[in-house]
């Protein structure tokens, strides 16, 4: 093949960010199951990435409790990603976490040339700080507005209204994870379906006729003995 003018070509990154609630209410089985579910989902994420060579899947993890902090601050290619268990700490400062993410969604550091990022929020409780300010900061960034968002509500105490507002789309619903089995299924779905959704071209969403249909979450069986 003759040299193509224009220099090197490259696939485009999909930045996938886990936002994980690590407050005390997650202590015990919930955090253990969450760690397990994410670790088990990584091979499936790799598989989705390999099936879509035009996308380069990059992962990061942010935990929030009394403070928000990066568990993986730098984007890690999915093939190099290994899971280190997250630990519980204190409160549920979601707003701080959203604010930290909003800084990463600005351009720079986000490149102009990328596929839509994925924001996957997992929580079992009620935020204890100004989460609306954090959400506003995300919505103020172009990539934040375009991001594919998924939310997983662990147990009955999770504030579904907050998660619904995070989703920013009345046609989407937080995914309920009321048992270990449901949590595993929800994490698996968020890890794969959202990545696929991020890399599909669609007509613009501001349009009433062509408003994107939600990438439908699965219907999760609730036949687990161990219910949160």
């Amino acid at each position: 093949m003759s040299d193509i003018p224009g220099g090197p070509m490259a696939n485009r990154p999909v930045h996938f960010i886990w936002l994980l609630d690590c407050s005390y209410s997650m202590q015990g089985e919930k955090i253990a199951r969450l760690n397990y579910a994410i670790r088990e989902a990584i091979p499936e994420m790799r598989s989705v990435a390999h099936d879509n060579p035009a996308a380069q899947l990059l992962l990061r993890t942010l935990t929030f409790s009394t403070t928000a902090q990066w568990h993986h601050k730098n984007p890690v290619p999915v093939d190099d990603f290994t899971w280190q268990d997250v630990q519980v700490d204190g409160m549920t400062n979601l707003g701080e976490a959203l604010d930290l993410v909003s800084r990463e969604l600005q351009t720079p550091p986000m490149p102009q040339r990328a596929l839509k990022p994925v924001l996957a929020l997992v929580s079992d409780g009620v935020p204890t700080d100004d989460w609306k300010a954090g959400l506003k900061a995300i919505d103020a960034t172009p990539w934040g507005r375009k991001a594919v968002r998924v939310a997983i509500a662990i147990g009955e105490d999770a504030d579904r209204n907050v998660l619904q507002e995070f989703l920013g789309n009345p046609e989407l619903r937080p995914l309920d994870a009321n048992s270990p089995k449901q949590l595993a299924a929800a994490i698996r779905w968020a890890s794969t379906a959202a990545v696929k959704a991020a890399s599909q071209p669609v007509a613009a969403s501001s349009d009433t006729l062509s408003k994107p249909l939600p990438y439908a979450p699965p219907v999760l069986d609730d036949d687990d003995d161990d219910v949160w």
């Binding site: 879509n52 060579p53 035009a54 839509k116 062509s210």
Partner: protein, 300 residues
């Protein structure tokens, strides 16, 4: 308007299927040679391709076919010797800006809704099942596509764009222009579309009456976003276009046409998207003869 000149543009075009796509949902045409009788008509359409736009290959093809028909009709309007007599530049511009987008979009929508109805009747007839039909908006969504089209006659160069993709013009002095690029570059893969509500309002138009032959563009290239999104560097796409133009000068258009499918196939691997280009180029001889003609005139 000045007197028309005999022009003979050459065309090149190709299309490649995106990585992992079952079929190519782009469509294109590159036809004519830029004379009044045979205007240069270029168009590319990019069917959105995802499951929500399952018939976007049909939508893209209909968009290109309709544009080509409208472009030829518009080119005929620019003919001072036509049945309609001389039409002023302002009349032509108003038509191009206001009337043509509305006609194009409404005919495209009518056309694909007709296709949907025929398919529905066929499917219903074969299955025997009676299901409630979707709304027109839902039907149109199936066919969603973008469109870029251009027409060039000895008197006028005009282009239209709805949605993403690139119109690239290499001017007579080698400047590279993208006259229909949005003020702010789009991010992500969402785009305006022929299936959008009141889509004609979203059409952008480039208007360039030709006042001097030797100031005409040298290359007009239309491409779907699969090409521009394949380059690692922001400046890669413009460098591709200038490199393509240079190779046309050095090795002739045919040599570039030979390798273009390979280039687009490689781009489609990286962008993941169907990748299409349709271009017209003014031959070197034409450029040189115009230049020589001007020098001769200046010496007199």
């Amino acid at each position: 308007m000045n007197q028309p000149y005999p022009l003979h543009w050459e065309t090149l075009s190709a299309s490649a299927r995106g990585a992992n796509k079952q079929r190519n949902q782009d469509w294109y045409t590159a036809e004519g040679c830029g004379t009044q009788a045979d205007p240069l008509v270029l168009a590319v359409a990019d069917g959105h391709g995802s499951a929500r736009h399952a018939r976007s290959d049909v939508g893209a093809r209909r968009a290109v076919d309709l544009f080509a028909a409208h472009a030829r009709e518009f080119a005929a309007f620019t003919n001072v010797d036509g049945l309609g007599g001389t039409r002023s530049l302002s009349w032509l511009m108003n038509y191009a800006r206001d009337v043509m987008p509305r006609r194009l979009v409404s005919e495209w929508q009518r056309n694909v809704l007709g296709h949907w109805q025929r398919q529905y009747e066929l499917d219903e007839g074969s299955s025997g099942a009676v299901t409630a039909p979707p709304t027109d908006g839902q039907k149109l969504l199936l066919y969603g596509a973008t469109l870029i089209g251009a027409v060039l006659t000895p008197r006028l160069f005009a282009a239209w764009q709805l949605g993403d993709g690139e119109l690239t013009v290499i001017e007579h002095d080698s400047r590279v222009e993208q006259p229909l690029a949005p003020a702010e570059a789009e991010i992500g893969d969402e785009t305006e579309s022929l299936c959008s509500h009141e889509a004609w309002r979203l059409v952008r138009m480039h208007w360039a009456p030709i006042v001097e032959r030797d100031r005409m563009p040298r290359l007009i290239a239309l491409s779907t976003d699969g090409l521009s999104k394949s380059f690692a560097a922001d400046e890669g796409f413009v460098e591709f276009m200038t490199g393509l133009d240079t190779r046309c000068s050095e090795g002739g258009l045919e040599s570039v046409q030979t390798v273009l499918p390979e280039w687009l196939a490689k781009a489609a691997q990286y962008s993941g998207d169907d990748t299409t280009m349709a271009a017209g180029r003014r031959p070197e001889q034409d450029t040189e003869s115009a230049h020589a003609g001007r020098q001769t005139t200046e010496r007199q």
